[in-house]
Amino acid sequence: MQLTGAEIFLESLKREGVDTIFALPGGVVLKIFDVLHQQKDIRVILTRHEQGAGHMAEGYAKATGRPGVALITSGPGMTNVITALADAYMDSVPMVCFSGQVPTPLIGNDAFQEADNIGLSRPCTKYNFLVKDVNDLAQTIKEAFYIATTGRPGPVLVDIPKDISMDKGEFHYPKSVSIRGFNPTYDGSKWKIKQAADAIMKSKRPILYIGGGVQFSGASAEVKELAEMTQIPVDMTLMALGAFPGGHPLSLGMLGMHGTYVANMAMHYSDLVIAVGARFDDRVTGKVSEFCPTAKVIHIDIDPTSIRKNIQVDIPIVGDCKRVLIELNDILRATVNGNQKEQRKPWWDQLDAWQKAHPLAYVQDPNEQIKPQYLIDRLYELTADRDPVVSTDVGQHQMWAAQYFKLKNARTWLTSGGLGTMGFGFPAAMGAQAAFPNRLVLCIAGDGSIQMNTQELATAVIEKLPVKVFVINNRFHGMVRQWQDLFYEGRYASSSLGNVPDFVKLAEAYGAAGIRIESVGDVDAGIQEALAIDRPVFVDVPVYQYENCYPMIPAGGSNHEMLLEDPADLKKPKSTHKKSAQADSDTVLTA
C-alpha cells in the first residue's frame, strides 16, 4: 500500500495504540497536521508552547504507564521541547517526541527554522532517529516506541524532514523489532536473589528503599507483599510516592533531603538496605562517605549503570523490579517463620521512638496567615476518598506535598524529580487529565513555578481539561529564599517575586475559574468550591511567606544530621529581613 510519510505516521501511531498527542504545528510538519486533521482516532491537543506539549506527554505517560507522544516543529519548536525531554530522561518517563525537520536537501544549510535536532537531543534522550527515507519511517516509529518503553523507560526523538512526510512509500508495519545492541535484562540472577533472601532473613534492622522504578515496573503489589510478609519498614524516594501507600503502617514516608526524620534515621542506622528501582541520588544519600555506614546494600534495578554508580553495593541484582520481587517473595514465603512482628519488635520500637520524637509538624494559628502545610493537609483530607492524581511543580510546595499528601496508589504522583523542572506541574496535570477525563487531577504549584507555563491555561480551557491548580503563593522563590536564610545570612538575592500577577484574574482572563482563599477559616470551603467546578480552576492561596521546609539535610550533610526546625536566629520575620518583609508591599496590585 503506497502512503505518504504523513499517512504512514498516522497509521503507525494507530497501531501503537496512541489515542492522544500533544502538539504544536509549524511549517515543516504541516503535512502531518493536515492528515491528523482528517481523522478521528487520535486526539490532537494543541498546546501553547512546545515545553507544555512535552510535559503533557510526560504527565500522560506517568499517569497511564503508556508512552506519551508529542509532535512539534523544527528549530525553536525543538529547542523548546528540550526541557521536557531532559526531564523525561532524568525521571525515566516513556515518551516519543516527533520533531519536524527542514527538507533533507536543506539539512546542514542553516535553513529557516533549522536546528540540529539530533545533536540537540542526543544527551537528553534515550535514543534518537533522523528519518532519511520514507520507506524507513514505519520501522523507525516501531523501534522508537519499543526503545521508549523497554527496559528502563525514557524519551525517544524521531526527527522527520518535511520531504519525508510528503514522499510516498510502501506501508508495512513491523510486528516486532529486535535491536542487536539493546537487550535489557528482565530476570534477576537466581543466585543473587537467593543471597538477598538470606540477607533479609539474617538482618535485624532492614529497610526497604523504593524508587520510581517501582512505579513503572508496576511492582507495588510485590513491594507490599514483601514488606508485610517480613514487617520491613518502607522508605520512599520522591519518585516512588504512591507506589506504596503513604498511610500504610509500614510506611516511614519520604526519605532524603526533606524526608521524614524516621525515614532518614532508619536508613542511617539500618543493617540492610534493600533498594528497589532507586538510584541513590545525591538528594537521598547526602554525604556519600557517611551514607548507611553499618548497612549491607541489596540493589535491584533494571539499569546496570545505576548499580555502584554512587555507592558500593553488596548484592547487585540487575532485572525488572516486579519480576525480581516475585522471585524474592517466593523464596521468602517458604522461609519466613514465626511471628515476624515479634522478631522485628526491637527495630520497630526504635523506629516508633524516632517517629514520636520528631513527627512532621507545623503550627497553624487559626487567626494568622495560612501555612502552606495546612493547605496541603486539608486538600489531602478533603480529596482522599476520590483517589486524585496529584502533580506538583518544583520547590518548597513540592516537598510539602510530598510530606503531607499521602497517596495510596501508584501512578497518581506526577513530579519532576531528577531535573527539578519548574513549570512541570500544570502541563503534566493536563496530560493526566487528557488520559483520564473523569478523574480528579490536582496540581499543587508555587507562585514562582506556575508562572513558567501559565500560557497553557488556554489549552486547559479550550481542550476542556478541568485540572484544579492550587497556587501556594508566598511571593517568593521559596526554596531559594529558604537557602538564602540558612546559608546566605538572609540576603534574598532575586528571590522575591512581588505580589503579581493576580492569579484569579489571570485565570479568568483565559476563561478558567479563579478563586482566592485568604484565611484559615475559608480553606475548606474554598477547596470544596474549587472541586465542584467542572472547568479548570486556579486557586490562589496567599500563605505565610517565611515558612521553611523541614526536616532538612543541608547539602553535603549526612542523613542523621537533620535540621528539624529553624535555627534559633531564624525565627521570622524580624528586622534583619527588612528587605524581604517589604516584599508584599513592594508591588501593590492596582485594583
Binding site: P123, D303, R308
Partner: protein
C-alpha cells in the same frame, strides 16, 4: 590506571558522537580513539584508550553498554593483548642531521615515506613506548609535524586451550 576498551558498534549516522558525547557528558577521559568498519560493513570497531580507577572504568563499561548503538564492549587490557599505533613524523633535517635521522629510523625499523632537501617523513609502527621513544629521539632534530593514529588493540588468543579468555560483558540495558 590506563585501560584499552574495544567496542563493536553500529556503523551508522551519529554512533561515533553518541560514544564521544558519553565521555564528554560524564566527564570521562579519552586519551585516544580510533574507529573503522569491520568485515561486516554495518559494524564498526572502535578502540578507546581511557583511564580511571576501578569504579570509573566499571561505569564507563556499563555506560557504553547502555548506548543502544553499541553491540559489544570488551576491556582488552583486562587480559593479554597486543597493541599497535602508527605515527607519521615529519622531521626537519639540516644537512649534518640527515644521516642521524636515517639511523634513528633504521633502529626503530621505521620507513621513510618522503624526503625533501630539508625534511624526512618517517612512518613508525609499534606499541606506545616505541612510538614515544622515536619521537623523543627525533625531537632534538626538530619535528615539523606529527600525526598519530591512536592505539588499536586486540586480545591474544590462549596459547593453551584451558587458558581463560577475555569475555565480553553481557549486553544489558
Amino acid at each position: 590506571m590506563e585501560h584499552i576498551i574495544s567496542l563493536t558498534l553500529e556503523n551508522k549516522f551519529g554512533s561515533l558522537s553518541r560514544v564521544a558525547g558519553l565521555f564528554s557528558g560524564r566527564g570521562f577521559n579519552i586519551e585516544s580513539l580510533s574507529v573503522a568498519p569491520t568485515l561486516d560493513p554495518s559494524v564498526s570497531m572502535m578502540t578507546i584508550v581511557t583511564s580511571g580507577d576501578d569504579r570509573i572504568i566499571e561505569q564507563i563499561m556499563k555506560q557504553l553498554n547502555k548506548v543502544i548503538d553499541v553491540i559489544k564492549v570488551v576491556d582488552v587490557s583486562e587480559s593479554e593483548f597486543v597493541e599497535r599505533e602508527t605515527a607519521l613524523i615529519k622531521v626537519h633535517t639540516r644537512p649534518e642531521d640527515r644521516a642521524e635521522a636515517l639511523r634513528i629510523a633504521d633502529i626503530f625499523r621505521a620507513n621513510v615515506l618522503d624526503s625533501s632537501p630539508t625534511s624526512y617523513t618517517i612512518e613508525v609502527t609499534g606499541d606506545v613506548r616505541k612510538v614515544q621513544a622515536i619521537i623523543h629521539l627525533l625531537q632534538p632534530l626538530g619535528i615539523k609535524e606529527l600525526v598519530r593514529t591512536g592505539r588499536i588493540a586486540i586480545g591474544r588468543d590462549p596459547t593453551r586451550p584451558t587458558q581463560a579468555q577475555p569475555r565480553p560483558l553481557a549486553k544489558a540495558n
